[in-house]
């Protein structure tokens, strides 16, 4: 039986096994491949999505538990804060391989939405769950500060 989840503002009826992690529902069933697979164990943050605006790991949320929830993926990420984050990422050329960056952008947007002027310590706490093997961390940190500054103006 199909399970209803609101994805990027659109109600979707999903016919997949109820224990399927939303990561694979998004990627395989809905072709929303911006949400990435990195570990499947909630350890790396590559699959970060927003559930009612809060960052969550799509690999740790089953379809059954997502029933009725409002989920935003990188494809549906909109708004002033997200725009500032993505603009800062481009301006500072944060990306290298880029594979983790959907998750980084989702986590950074959630941080700046909750805390418009984060300290370095705030950034450590909010971003420590998002691994980047290219170690673009210094630029992610700078990007968050730059986005915060642009949102102030």
């Amino acid at each position: 039986m199909a399970i209803s989840v609101t994805i990027n503002g659109q109600p979707r009826a999903i016919d997949a096994a109820p224990d399927t992690p939303m990561l694979w529902v998004l990627r395989d069933d809905l072709q929303l491949t911006g949400t990435k697979f990195g570990c499947g164990a909630g350890l790396c943050g590559a699959c970060t999505i927003h559930v009612k605006g809060e960052p969550q790991r799509a690999c740790q949320l089953t379809l059954k538990d997502a029933a009725g929830l409002e989920i935003t993926t990188i494809e549906g990420l909109k708004g002033r804060v997200a725009g500032a984050v993505q603009a800062a990422w481009a301006k500072l050329d944060v990306v290298q391989c880029g594979y983790c960056q959907s998750g980084q952008v989702m986590a950074a947007t959630a941080l700046l939405t909750a805390k418009p002027k984060p300290s370095d310590a705030d950034i450590d706490v909010a971003m420590d769950g998002n691994i980047c093997r290219c170690a673009t961390y210094p630029r992610i940190r700078a990007g968050i500060h730059a986005a915060a500054a642009s949102l102030e103006g």
Partner: protein, 750 residues
Amino acid sequence: MTDATFSTQQSIFKMIGSPLDALPVDQPSAAEPSRRSFLKIAGGTGAGLMLALAAPGLGAVPAQAATPAGGGLADAFLRIAPDNTVTVILKHADIGQGAATGLSTLVAEELDASWAQIRTEFAPSDPVRYKNFAFGVQGVGGSTGLANSFEQYRTVGATARAMIVAAAAKEWGVPAADISVTNGVVSIASGKTATLGAMANAASLQAVPSNVTLKTPDKFTFIGKSFPRVDSVAKTNGTAKYTIDQQMDGMLIAVIARPTKFGATVAKIDATATEKSAGVVKVVQVPQGVAVIAKSTWAAIKGRQALKVTWDESKAEVRGTADLLKDYKALLDKPGLSARKEGDVEGAFAKAAKVVSVDFEFPYLAHAPMEPLDCVVHYTGSSAEIWTGSQLQTVDHGTACAVLGLKPEAVKLNTVWAGGSFGRRAIADAHFVAEACALAKAYGQPVPIKVIWTREDDIKGGYYRPMYVHRLKAGLDKDGTIIAWQHRIVGQSIMAGTPFESMAVKNGIDNTSVEGANNLPYAIANLSVELHTVKAGVPVLWWRSVGATHTAHATEHMIDLLAKEAGKDPVAFRLSLLKGKPRHIGALKLAAEKAGWGTPMPAGTARGVAVHESFGSYVAQIAEIALKPDGSVKVTRIVSAIDCGLAVNPDVVHAQIEGGIGYGLGAALRNEITIKGGVVEQSNFDSYEPLRMSDIPKIESHIVPSAEKPTGVGEPGTPVALPAVANALFSATGQRTLQLPMTRQKYTSA
């Protein structure tokens, strides 16, 4: 040598032969040819201007190599379309190192294009046209990407520019010398202008100049400046497509059950439960294990969980890392094969006032790129199409042909964005392509199949940076001068048993085992470097910066131990030993100056220095650490200086240094693969945890100004971070870092 030696690699090679046999390849040449001749392969078709490199010795490129307008181009380096887009065809993969941006910069420079009109496409597999001049085959690695393309891609741009200018001269009835091209606009003094795109069709009818003049550096408008990466936007909004993102009608997903011990093979399969598992389509055996093919990724993963495989471990490697370490250490007492010998080492030790001897241990390391290995194969029986983040296209393509039993022209390899590599996607046996082709062939239905490695497959899957032990023994005279140096290394060979063996292994010495040690830059009259190559069944592979990952630490930490014995400042000690090494000195002096070397440090903090050359680039780093009251240590700052010749895009150089340091610090502080009874003990990012945001120090990257030819930047930043941090700790506490990672020291991220 045990029977299990390189079992995985060799069994696949036996199966397919050398992948390089399948395709026509040139012998590698030491340097990029200074000029290439170009010829037009398509034009006057309304498709704009297309250029292809004429293959040396082949005369004209076969006409059928060029596909007509609109259908893409099989073998061009550049496409200027009437819509005014300039598409640069990338012969190299972009694994995050910035190849797409770098190669585009070279074309844009000589074409005088505007950066906004640049687009990129990955080239198809073609070892003749798209070879890396450093390898003789298509592929990128060893930080050669930009160095081997520097004149080639500029010549592509300059040739196109000359044809555009010739076309404008004809159309406007003026001498070519009166025409200028700036920022993508062709113009003459009278005010007439045209875009590159508007002139492209006419340009395609012009003769191809055989000898174009490249700009002198004072005329550069792109090279040496930091233009934005071409992939920034697509990689921040989720639209960049990696292998794992490929979606096709009827596509199936596969995961493979692999043996828990390297070299084990399938004895018995019980797929009863798997075949009943929802969404599973088929279970097939391949040389690498047992593949579960399903309608979705989750179905494949669950199907694999239900699978029962009995493994034949009779030829498996059953030793653990502790067993191997014991054997390796025993070899440290015996002379190895000589990799370098100068003077009279034994005689010098006999005269030494002081002798320092230390043993180092380096663990196996996984690469763990964020995108685990993956490959899509669509096999029809008579042809195949493959999508993967191919770093060695010629090897991947040749392997696919061999496994599928198809000719190269029947197999199309599409290179797509790769979610990191660090060496892991450049594999001499292309095992991840081989297994995907093997299972597609075994399945036999003409549908695309995407093979995905889970993170556990990745961490447990071998192809590690080899484990090594070193013994470094040095003798000082009464004045503190190093008069004797003996360096003995024990470890597996990365190159043995691969198609690259003849290039890299000479007289029994695999250069990747000793590089960084046998070219020690310090002036020491009596010096010996020896190697014991051992065999173990654990597959090994190059890991970002290859030999330097261990030799830089051993040599540069040793220098600090000796500086202390000699009572000398570590920077001054190095400078006194660097005779005729101006580029080491330049990097070292710049890093020391920028870090404020010699200025007082607050209590509880310390600096450490290291300098090392790899891949033709010279990197010095100064690390700063803070000791916490509870005894824990935080790396707070790293100041880096690189001499990489001319920095084509300085911001990309800085990015590679920042990332390289982060990667190296992971190996310094906490990453290791351990094996017990043949079974890898780590499995995911909890037990093999990369550095995270809070672990990363402040990093400051500087570039030594240089007009030398560009050299590598992807790898040289990585190995220097380890000894720099170790030397800071040694300075602060006197504690030596002889075993990596530095897990005996408690590190803190705050």
